[in-house]
Symmetry: D3
Subunit: 209 residues, 6 copies
């Protein structure tokens, strides 16, 4: 038996798997790519890399996108916050950069978004968000120890049962997504680094401490 060998790492996306050219991608996904280009100006590398298995990408994305639908008690920023807290606990570069950018945008607060990506505990979050982050981190790092009381703590800060379920399902989903990103070696598109930063930065010397 001659074993298969990995190709060179894909220069653009970082992937250790073959990355299909645009014209090789099935129609359904090509529409998804086009829509992304239209909305944000580029195709996120998660799409390009996952397109090695197009049906899987479609199935994953159909599930994933449901979880980012905002509700009254768990808005778009809250949902990105959960993504970032889980990705920080797992140490996922792709998701921290891509969803870090999304979090800064949705919060409309680039400083707060960056803080959450490094340490949500010291980001000055209110009780509601603290309860959500606490739950998401625990489900990520010590799922066996999650209790009924942990679930009740989400209701106690005003979430509905459905929203509490969403906190759990978003956290669970990023435990899948983080691992796909790290297993394939996805790198975040450079564009994310520039998104939703404070004005007036760009290029001066950094501080001494």
């Amino acid at each position: 038996m001659t074993s298969h060998q990995l190709n060179e790492t894909d220069a653009e996306t970082g992937s250790w798997f073959p990355v299909p050219a645009d014209e090789e991608v099935p129609d359904g996904l090509r529409k998804l790519f086009a829509k992304a280009r239209e909305r944000i100006g580029f195709v996120p590398n998660v799409f390009r890399v996952y397109a090695f298995r197009p049906e899987r990408l479609s199935a994953w994305f159909a599930h994933y996108r449901q979880l980012h639908e905002p509700t009254d008690g768990l808005d778009a920023a809250d949902r990105e916050m959960i993504a970032v807290v889980v990705s920080s606990a797992n140490g996922c570069l792709y998701c921290l950069v891509a969803h870090g950018a999304a979090l800064r945008t949705e919060l409309g607060d680039p400083v707060l978004g960056e803080r959450i990506s490094y340490d949500w505990r010291r980001a000055g979050l209110d009780d509601r968000r603290t309860a959500i982050c606490t739950y998401a981190e625990k489900l990520t790092l010590a799922p066996r120890e999650v209790t009924r009381d942990d679930l009740q703590s989400l209701l106690d800060v005003g979430l509905t049962l459905e929203e509490a379920w969403d906190v759990a399902e978003i956290a669970a989903m990023y435990n899948l997504t983080n691992r796909m990103a790290m297993a394939t070696n996805m790198l975040p598109n450079d564009e994310y680094s520039a998104q939703a930063r404070p004005d007036g930065g760009g290029g001066e010397l950094s501080g001494e401490a």
Copy 2:
């Protein structure tokens, strides 16, 4: 603000969330339930519990079922083995009992299946399965440390690139599924405990050591 309170834990499934009665379940899922009853004689509790959010169940299951499609180099037993190894690393009761039963069945070896569920390292697996379990456990417990060499190790034991991807995606998926099971407190149906056991056991005294 009056916060919501959890109901009593559902006696049959263990769920901390409301469990819809059969007649409340949407048509699509009712067919899924019926098919399960036909094939295995009961509705797995994961279906009943996840049906609190029917569209989520449909989306998750559409993704999940793709991952259990056997291929030449990664058969049904191998795929259940990955499920069990990940569930053991995460300590997920529901998945260890339900997929432990599936693994015993697919292997056609109740002793080996049980051993894998407790410690795959001492189950006497061959090099191919050892490489698969090693990868799945590492992606579960230390995803940040997974390298290109880890991926190549799957190709080295004869997997195709697609099958190596499947090992990663199944492992990633059970990191989602385990967390949903633990977040909702799903309990495995009693029926699993009886499936695919060796003959001639049933009820005698246990050994002294």
Copy 3:
């Protein structure tokens, strides 16, 4: 100096050490073996493997057997439960299979026994058994952090001082036994897998999830 080399792994017991034939075993142990055969139909592999050092086996077993003597407040099932909880925390294949079988038998509840072996926290145990499992797991995983209050928690659920001591000593003993099993690579006898399983299983298809 020419260093010693390990023999082939013993096919029947898994041992990395030489396993004495029945006729090489000293008289005292031969009686022990015979008694086991009579009671349960086979000689547990722990006896065969440990018989490489017959005086050690005798000394260990003389201590060990005292710890499984039931008392009013800590019956045979409770003692097997401690064995299983410690073995689960340490991940000991031999003891999980062998004492898992004993636990199912003593409980007279194959489903509950299996659940405890995978995750005692979700097995639906009452307060008394929860306190016992909590203590045994903590003494196993974080012995330095065990406090006087932890000990009092055993008295608070009705145990006598002697029974609280027994919880500690059984847990301590399985920390020895698990390590002997893993250091020698003991494999559980196949017979355990069949013991005390629910009726009506055996061989059908597994569930889909």
Copy 4:
């Protein structure tokens, strides 16, 4: 005995300790503050917070500043990289934001600098920087296991003995500094978030994944 009570958390710096007003700060430090204002436009919060104990700040800073003196084989960017890798291993918000900005500046590469702050392993570093990061992370997380071979690995990528010492001393220093930042609850100045970001970002929508 009446115990002391903490003041309100300082709004500007986050400190749990009293933060001296500018005019209360001793002369020597006032010069340091002025110099910072001149060079980077603001006084880093580490100075304001540490000024509660002015002689300590002077002593710490006199040691600390020596460690950032660049050499031929370990330049300013390399030294900031060590700061960021240690701060990431310890999860220190203040240092990740402040030295993350410095690292982006010194590298002249905002994307690479951000990547290192989230996961240096996937940042595409060359062998020399990989060896340095590996050593700094190990000395942070498992100092007892650091060996002579680990030290030799720094010389093997071209560092002098003095530069290898510097890698260790910088890593050790940030293990002090990170803990002072977290013990006092220092928050990074908002200005850091804007420094050395890529052009053309600012405010658009984030990507969908």
Copy 5:
């Protein structure tokens, strides 16, 4: 049900359990106590504390004492070294003080004995002792990961199969003993601190660093 309450902690031994007076101790143990007094001038607290359950003490000690019988390739100092390495990994105060004293004595080297008790890796041990300590620590901290190669590493430094078994069984035994010491809160007799120290110390000022 009125639950039992712990007595005051025993002033002399630290025990959280009742400590029998000398005259309450059964004959067999009284001889053991007398022999200890004769040989070392005092009764080790492990005997006093464990005497709450006299038959257990007898059984444990009958097993334990076998393991300290020296052999050509694993002498008394080596066996105490294993005790100390395991006790250090578990953080057991009683055993570190009591067996630390025994190790200093058996080695005839108070400095080396003290070093091993704090960090065997930096104590300058030869290859044989390094292999033994490596094995004992791994069996203590990561028993599931112990392999056949780990066992062979003991034979490779000249141990017989029986001595390699002894390394494992001594390590396993101290995993029991450490937990009994911590579960009962045994404190070491003061006398141990004075045993086998270097000459010429006693009472001067300590160093500045």
Copy 6:
């Protein structure tokens, strides 16, 4: 490029770096060495080893010595206790031996000092010292989780704000110092082992358990 090679390990100090001879040491440090010889009879190895980088030694020592200045509520023994607790959590041989000796001396209680070096939790400390040790250990092992309440717990046992800061800064400093000791492989001077031991030990047989 020919890479540098480490010299032989320095026999006297253990250092993996070159250790300057006394006459190579700059004047300022030579005075420090002379003063140490006068006060305690020898030059601590930390001075000899750190003298490879004389300006660093001066800067480190200027900071370090401030932290051991006793105050009313945090005396010399308390400060050595923090050094020992941090060094125990990090497992630093050099600091455990050297500051273990200092702690025995400052406490005037060789038994208590030794106990703290192995397990401060079972050393019978009062509430004030327990709070200090708890804080120092947490800042060492889980700095990200240190909260405002942890800081208040130091004030609650009577420390001033300045003394609470000192607890944090001493703990932070030993996280630097421990890592320098382990990165350079400093070995403690033999003299420490003899300091401040109880009378009447020296050389007799150790106990049997």
